[in-house]
């Protein structure tokens, strides 16, 4: 019986505790960005502490982020004040459920970004927040293996393959690293780098003869790629451990390597192919859901995030670059300096072929990525004939484009209506 009274005591005690834990009105910042613990901590301590009200910064994975948002929208009342996410996250949401933000008077200095932020409507559905891109990085030990006459800031894919082959031969193990793991961002390499560099397109040229060449070349590179790459998702880890010497990844997924051992690594632009040096930006934005409990605080926070000083602090916290014009100081973290120089060299290259983020796909963005990932897995990992795989996947890609009616984006030539797969 004493046990039972203990039980009862415990239960009533718990009930008491539950009732006391509540009521706290911070501005809730619901984000898919700056998730790694260190970045989240820096967002809270350095970036958001300057705002007038207390901000509760909550980074989430995409699944819970979207589910919670949808639940609040369906229930018609919410606690989320400000949303922070990638362009791709926002394009999967009904623009009606986001508050138009034109009256805030803040926007990105790039008109391309502002157009993307309208999500196909006439009004700003989100405000561009910060940007990044994908670059290459290498261990300095790999530099002596560079092919003769190759300039690391103006490499071609052929030179990259030769370089990786030299390192493979010299060290006895394949040292090219590619983020092909479950959380790796491999699809962006195909969409924004390989395809634009070889075919000057992404959708139209998906199954073109040039695409076959591109996959053949990537196959050659794969010969010198660490076979564990199918487990790699954050190339900074393999750079630091020495499992990979030459890598491709998102700037913020390389940052730790540069910050921990700035003298051991170099950052450099992505290589160029026959149709130029393809590269793709990453764009994150801020939005206010229609259910935000305190609209004024939410809008004030969005404006605060776009202020030049906040943008600089955000850069230091996340390695994501500002979207407004800001004078960069000299005392930036090593990762920002390294990647900043590489990005400048990449976008300023005479053969630069910048692409855009996929747009107009709505909630089919994931399926779109899947097409490229499946193509990679079938051609490179399962070694199926390239032409046959491309023909197969072409049908899926066509179906997605027709269903969403998404027009072509750069570097594909503009289309009337849905972007055709030629």
């Amino acid at each position: 019986m004493t046990r039972m009274t203990h039980f009862a005591g415990a239960v009533s005690g718990l009930a008491l505790l539950v009732s006391t834990a509540a009521v706290q009105a911070d501005v809730l910042f619901w984000s898919t960005q700056a998730r790694p613990v260190e970045e989240a901590q820096a967002m809270r301590q350095d970036v958001l502490s300057g705002f007038d009200e207390t901000v509760d910064y909550q980074p989430n994975e995409d699944g819970p982020w979207l589910t919670r948002l949808q639940a609040e929208l369906q229930a018609g009342s919410g606690s989320i004040e400000v949303l922070g996410a990638l362009h791709g996250n926002f394009s999967a949401i009904d623009p009606e459920s986001l508050v138009d933000l034109d009256d805030l008077g803040v926007s990105a200095s790039s008109e391309t970004f502002n157009t993307l932020a309208r999500l196909g409507t006439d009004n700003m559905q989100y405000i561009p927040w910060m940007q990044a891109t994908y670059i290459m990085a290498a261990n300095k030990e790999a530099l002596p293996y560079l092919p003769d006459g190759a300039d690391i800031n103006a490499l071609t894919y052929d030179q990259l393959i030769e370089w990786a082959a030299n390192v493979h031969e010299g060290t006895g193990s394949p040292k090219f690293g590619f983020p092909a793991g479950p959380k790796g961002l491999k699809h962006r390499f195909f969409q924004g780098y390989l395809y634009p560099s070889y075919t000057d397109g992404v959708v139209r040229t998906f199954a073109s003869p040039e695409a076959v060449t591109a996959w053949e070349k990537f196959g050659e590179l794969w010969e010198h790629t660490n076979p564990s790459s199918t487990n790699f998702s954050f190339m900074q880890e393999q750079l630091l451990s020495g499992d990979a010497w030459i890598v491709f990844d998102h700037t913020s997924r390389l940052a730790q390597a540069f910050n921990e051992r700035p003298d051991d690594f170099v950052a450099f632009p992505a290589p160029a192919g026959p149709t130029g040096r393809g590269f793709m930006p990453v764009l994150a934005g801020l939005a206010v859901p229609a259910t935000a409990p305190d609209m004024d605080a939410a809008k004030a926070l969005v404006s605060y995030m776009l202020a030049p000083e906040t943008q600089l602090k955000t850069l230091q916290a996340t390695s994501f670059f500002p979207v407004v014009d800001v004078e960069l100081p000299d005392d930036l973290p090593a990762s920002v300096q390294a990647s900043g120089a590489a990005i400048a060299a990449m976008s300023g290259a005479p053969d630069a072929n910048p692409g855009l983020l996929p747009s107009g796909l709505g909630d089919k963005g994931g399926d779109f990525n899947r097409v490229y990932v499946d193509t990679f897995e079938r051609i490179i990992l399962a070694r199926q004939p390239i032409e046959r795989v491309l023909e197969d996947q072409k049908r899926r890609l066509s179906a997605i484009m027709e269903e969403t009616g998404a027009p072509c984006w750069a570097p594909d030539a503009p289309s009337e209506g849905a972007c055709p797969v030629e």
Binding site: L14, A21, P36, D56, E61, G63, P64, R68, A75, I80
Partner: protein, 281 residues
């Protein structure tokens, strides 16, 4: 023939030795199975970032507390830990309070649809949480259960109940009804017979299902991430941000997630062992 007979004692000696060796090896292997990952977790938690990335590892850590200090200063971590304990405790209590009587009924009474019920109770585990989370969250927001430890504990209890019911069912079935009947003849009511005779016998089993409930609640991330905002549990608070963190922080964070669960299991271990007849209370 005679040779073979003469060989026999030597043979059994050898095979007993082999058997002992196999037994010992299995024990070592099973222990290593559990301890080695925990050891590496501890080692890497107490190492500096450079050491975490280097190989081979030294056997003893250098007691670099950098990674742990980072978490000690991490905003909201204590609160999240407290919420986790709270939710796990409520889940434990509720799943036992609901699950044990169901297990008792299943083992002692005959009723229509009993077999179907036993099967159906497993179905609560058949639907993936990401599928259920959206309607649940909408419902919780409308009813005011949203963002409370109690609301989350309800969801975790649903997940834990199949285990509680099935474990207690098999335990009750293992206790002869004659014991209870004897107690009735000696003046016990149905209830006192249960509390005085049956309950002490199945306490280890109750503990086991309580541990199950605790672990299920402790490990659950998706519902916790969607259904709580300010009252986040530790996994919802940490796990999502750990996936992309630098390696040394992953280890330290993993360590922080594991330790409270280890402490809990250590605290209740004697009840568990009692179930297997190793220790007597």
């Amino acid at each position: 023939m005679t040779d073979a007979v003469a060989d026999l004692p030597a043979d059994t000696g050898a095979s007993r030795k082999a058997g002992q060796f196999l037994y010992g090896a299995s024990v070592v292997l099973l222990c290593a199975w559990v301890i080695v990952p925990l050891y590496f977790l501890l080692l890497n938690t107490l190492s500096s970032p450079e050491e975490v990335n280097s190989f081979p590892k030294s056997f003893l850590p250098h007691f670099d507390l950098g990674s742990l200090t980072f978490f000690a200063n991490f905003q909201g971590i204590l609160r999240a830990l407290w919420n986790s304990v709270l939710v796990a405790a409520m889940t434990m209590v509720m799943s036992i309070v609901i699950g044990a009587p169901a297990g008792y009924a299943l083992s002692r009474f005959e009723f229509r649809g009993k077999e179907a019920f036993r099967l159906l109770i497993l179905l609560t585990r058949a639907f993936p949480l990401p599928l259920l989370a959206l309607p649940l969250a909408v419902l919780f927001i409308r009813t005011g259960l949203d963002d409370t430890a109690f609301g989350l504990a309800l969801v975790h209890t649903t997940l834990a109940i199949p285990f509680a019911v099935l474990i207690t069912f098999s335990l009750f079935s293992g206790i002869p009804i004659e014991l209870e009947e004897a107690a009735w003849t000696l003046g016990c009511t149905r209830f006192t017979a249960f509390t005085k005779v049956v309950l002490p016998l199945i306490l280890p089993g109750i503990t086991a299902s309580a541990i199950f409930a605790f672990v299920i609640s402790w490990n659950e991330v998706f519902a916790a991430a969607v259904l709580t905002i300010e009252n986040r549990t530790l996994p919802a608070f940490l796990l999502q941000t750990l996936g992309e963190a630098p390696l040394h922080l992953k280890f330290a964070g993993g360590f922080i997630l594991v330790v409270p669960a280890l402490i809990f299991i250590f605290a209740v271990r004697k009840y568990l062992f009692a179930m297997w007849g190793i220790a007597n209370r």
